[in-house]
């Protein structure tokens, strides 16, 4: 569709994007103990990507690399335990102290979750690209993509 370039919408989305990213990151890290998780975080990031596309601010790029990166993270974390003789997808929990933040407890599940969120973002980005592939993209994205009728 033709990007909506109304200044108010553009400004609103421009301001809201960083906040939404922060919310997404929070969901990603909070997921282990509170509502959230990789899937939810990925959806937040994906929603940001769609809104920015609609407003004509930005088009997602490097979608393939994003998906590949996510799949790689998830697969490596899943299969690594086998090398140490543990079962597939076994979790390692790490606890360490950081200045200011105090004791941090994290594990390989977090890497897995990050991979999940990256794949979800990649899927949303692929949908955006797929929907706008046959349309002219005025003012945003690559002008070579698509052909005006």
């Amino acid at each position: 569709m033709k990007p909506n370039q109304a200044p108010a919408i553009q400004l609103g989305i421009r301001v809201a994007s960083p906040l939404a990213i922060v919310v997404g990151v929070y969901l990603l890290f909070a997921g282990h103990n509170f509502p959230g998780g990789g899937f939810a975080a990925g959806l937040v990031f994906g929603a940001v990507a769609i809104l920015r596309t609609i407003a004509g601010l930005q088009r997602p790029r490097g979608t393939t690399a994003l998906i590949a990166c996510g799949v790689l993270m998830v697969t490596v974390v899943s299969f690594l335990p086998i090398l140490w003789g543990d079962p597939l997808l076994d979790q390692r929990v790490v606890t360490f102290d950081l200045p200011l933040l105090g004791t941090i407890k994290t594990g390989t599940a977090l890497v897995f979750d990050i991979g999940v969120s990256i794949i979800v973002v990649g899927l949303v980005a692929a949908i955006i690209n797929g929907l706008s592939a046959s349309q002219p993209t005025q003012g945003a994205g690559q002008p070579t993509q698509g052909a005006p009728q």
């Binding site: 899937f39 769609i50 086998i82 999940v116 692929a126």
Partner: protein
């Protein structure tokens, strides 16, 4: 140790890719190291003896899914053949290819990849391991046969080999699953004898799988075509390694089918047909490589017959034949390859007189040929004697059929061997194809492996005790009673020996008569043409079928999916139990449910697309509220976000479509309404049925305890997703990634034609 050797192969593949960029020769040298080391290891193990080496990498513990290796006597014998012949052939290939040959990385790496797959197959101790490596040999052999991929005939031959062996692999998988279920263990060394109908079916399936791999009639049609491969590939895959996989398989699983009559007779039928038809084919062809290929079909049929017969002595003779065949057939292939690159032809009617110009090759071919025929003082003689002795030990119908196979096959072998050697080395117009005499100079790299392999036949005969140390333990491993036999260098004038002499005389007469008849008509390849016809037919007819199944209309797809879902839910529709249904836990639920219903009706009736999308979003947000009231914040959060993304995505996507839905009228409208209504009713009925039939206590307390103890997290849903049930999540995200890649590909398909029209 097994891991080390296997790992060395994997490292070697990488090394071959890198070194192969410099030249074909460098790639092959890098590839030959790991097989050479493995062969030396196997040889020392065989000489020194000692405990059986095994290694296991468990993947799924409860399901017995593991990669398990075990190098027992049989495996060591096969390792010696696979790696020893492999290393020699790779050395030979250095001389076979010209120094400016292209594709060194590919060839060296694929050869070694095949070698590694073959080792995995030979070492496999579980049915699953065996199957995985079985298929890997099919794939690597496809790549090797199709090495000269610019030639359409080569591509066709490679495709034929892949189609037949891979289809056979699937049949084998079905048979192995049945076998594992009936014996109760996927472990190859713990297969208990089975019987009954399922056992007979499993026997037939496993035999068909083995027959496709070992080129047994009527599945042999891929092997002559596979001669389109470079000769080193034929010498390796089609004499020593891959075609032996089927033989090894029936030898190893044979004990489990000992009580199944179908196993024995079907196997003997395959073997019998192959022995005779392969021998006839070898007599009819003119291309030296094709003669050897058809001869291989015949010889493999001999082993198939012996192992299927299942008597201890027959198994012993089969192992001896397996060992000696690999040596002499590989040597013959290597000689033919040398003749090919040095004269430019393999046609025995054009060749001749090479005994004088290629004396070393002549001696090698003579030794290997004599071993194949079964003349003393060569290893082939002792193996053939053992086979005839085995026939004498059998009784009844088995003896008659196996006897005809072995005697008839041996007569044919003598005849085609004489014809082959006479055609290449006998008197005739010397090397008329190459005007200057030679296409290529002699290379010691090609001579040395062939000499080694043919001398192995002589040395094996001289130190027959040493060969017995290899063959007897392997036979004992397959059948405990086979250990009492051994190969005998000179049995004296006994029945078997007399039969042997008669075979050689008859075969020689047949061979001489056949040469004198001088029929040089090339037989038609009906079987291969039929196979290609089937594959081409499927490819050319399938678009019409696909156009019919994949209609392309989204409403039709939805209607089909909805109908199937209704049918699936209909089974539950009557499964109500009263007393558990309540209207609501909280009045808020009733209000939210009313909102959901109103939004759903609006989505169905509103005429504008954007309106319908927003109504659909309202349904989702209403459900979010229901989740929240029910106490599932994580689920509600996810639902909320999914709905948000979907609604925003609709806004993005609707720009492509008209503002309003197109009108739907007539019977199509009725069908849609009916499917939708039935879908709603069925889902409601299924939910009510599920809600009124509680089974036991909810698993929540257990899950909470497990989440905190094992996952270390307080969000049970998230711990389930990332730890307790992470395998499901892994599968789901892989699906998501696949969908994303599919969308990207579709988008690319849509843009490309437009881009082209723009350019033109």
């Amino acid at each position: 140790m097994l891991w080390l050797l296997f790992g060395a192969h994997l490292v070697g593949i990488a090394a071959a890719v890198l070194a192969g960029r410099r030249s074909m020769q460098a790639g092959l040298c890098a590839a030959a190291l790991a097989p050479a080391a493995t062969a030396i290891w196997a040889a020392t193990r065989l000489v020194e003896g000692g405990d059986v080496v095994s290694a296991e990498l468990v993947w799924v513990d409860g399901l017995d899914v593991a990669i398990s290796f075990r190098a027992d006597a049989v495996a060591l014998l096969m390792t010696l053949l696979v790696s020893g012949v492999g290393a020699l052939v790779m050395g030979y290939a250095c001389g076979y290819f010209s120094s400016d040959a292209k594709g060194g990385s590919r060839f060296g790496a694929t050869m070694l990849g095949f070698s590694a797959s073959m080792l995995g197959l030979v070492w496999a101790d579980s049915i699953w391991t065996l199957f995985i490596f079985w298929e890997m040999t099919s794939v690597t052999s496809f790549l090797l046969v199709g090495h000269k991929h610019t030639d359409a005939a080569v591509r066709l031959a490679a495709r034929r080999a892949l189609v037949i062996t891979a289809t056979g692999g699937l049949v084998l998988l079905a048979g192995l699953i049945l076998l594992a279920q009936n014996t109760g263990s996927p472990n190859l060394t713990k297969l208990a004898p089975i019987s009954g109908t399922e056992a007979a079916v499993a026997a037939a399936l496993v035999l068909i799988g083995a027959a496709t791999k070992s080129a047994q009639v009527p599945f042999h049609v891929w092997l002559p075509g596979a001669m389109a491969a470079p000769t080193p590939v034929s010498a390796y895959l089609h004499s020593a390694a891959m075609v032996k996989a089927g033989i090894l398989l029936i030898a190893v699983v044979g004990p489990a089918f000992g009580d199944v009559a179908a196993w024995k007779w079907l196997g003997i039928c395959f073997g019998f047909a192959s022995v005779i038809w392969g021998g006839v084919g070898a007599l009819r062809h003119r291309d030296a490589k094709l003669i050897l290929a058809w001869g291989t079909v015949s010889q493999l049929g001999l082993m198939f017959t012996l192992f299927s017969a299942g008597a201890p002595k027959a198994i012993f003779a089969g192992v001896a034949l397996l060992f000696s065949h690999a040596l002499f057939k590989a040597a013959l292939f290597l000689v033919v390859g040398e003749v090919d690159v040095r004269t430019g032809t393999r046609d025995i009617t054009q060749l001749g007189g090479l005994a004088r110009s290629m004396p070393l090759a002549f001696v090698v071919a003579l030794l290997a040929g004599a071993s194949m025929v079964g003349l003393p003082p060569l290893l082939g003689f002792t193996a053939k004697e053992a086979a005839i002795e085995a026939v004498l030990k059998l009784s009844g119908g088995t003896q008659a059929v196996v006897g005809v196979a072995i005697i008839g096959g041996s007569v044919l072998t003598v005849a085609y061997t004489i014809r082959l050697l006479y055609g290449i080395f006998g008197p005739g117009p010397a090397t008329s194809v190459a005007p200057q005499g030679y296409v290529r100079r002699r290379s010691w790299l090609m001579a040395a492996p062939a000499v080694t392999l043919s001398l192995a036949g002589v040395v094996g005969y001289a130190v027959i005790g040493g060969v017995n140390e290899i063959v007897v333990p392997a036979a004992t491993e397959l059948n405990a009673k086979a250990g009492v036999y051994e190969l005998i260098a000179w049995p004296g004038v006994k029945t078997a020996f007399v039969i042997s002499v008669l075979i050689v005389i008859t075969g020689a007469v047949v061979g001489v008569l056949w040469i004198a008849r001088g029929s040089n008509r090339i037989p038609l390849s009906l079987g291969a043409d039929a196979t290609d016809g089937i594959v081409d037919g499927v490819i050319s007819k399938s678009p019409r079928l696909i156009a019919w199944i994949q209609h392309g209309s989204l409403p039709v797809y939805l209607a089909v999916m909805g109908t199937v879902a209704v049918l699936a839910a209909a089974a539950l529709a009557s499964d109500f139990a009263g007393g558990h249904l309540i209207w609501w836990d909280h009045p808020l639920q009733a209000m939210l449910a009313a909102a959901v219903v109103i939004a759903a009706l609006a989505a169905a009736f509103v005429g504008s697309r954007l309106g319908a999308a927003l109504a659909l979003g309202s349904v989702g947000f209403g459900v979010t509220g229901l989740f929240l009231v029910h106490g599932a914040p994580d689920l509600a959060l996810t639902q909320l976000l999914v709905e948000t993304v979907v609604v925003v995505g609709f806004v993005l996507g609707l720009g492509h479509l008209a503002r309003r839905f197109p009108p739907v009228t007539g019977s199509w409208r009725s069908v849609r309404i009916m499917v939708a209504a039935a879908g709603g009713l069925a889902v409601t009925a299924a939910l009510v049925a599920a809600g009124t039939n509680p089974t036991g206590q909810p698993p929540t307390p257990d899950l909470v305890a497990e989440a905190v103890a094992e996952g270390g997290g307080k969000n049970v849903v998230n711990v389930i997703l990332t730890d307790l049930r992470a395998l499901d999540t892994l599968g789901e995200v892989v699906v998501l990634a696949t969908v994303a890649i599919g969308i990207l590909a579709l988008a690319r398909v849509r843009t490309r034609p437009q881009a082209q029209t723009q350019e033109s």
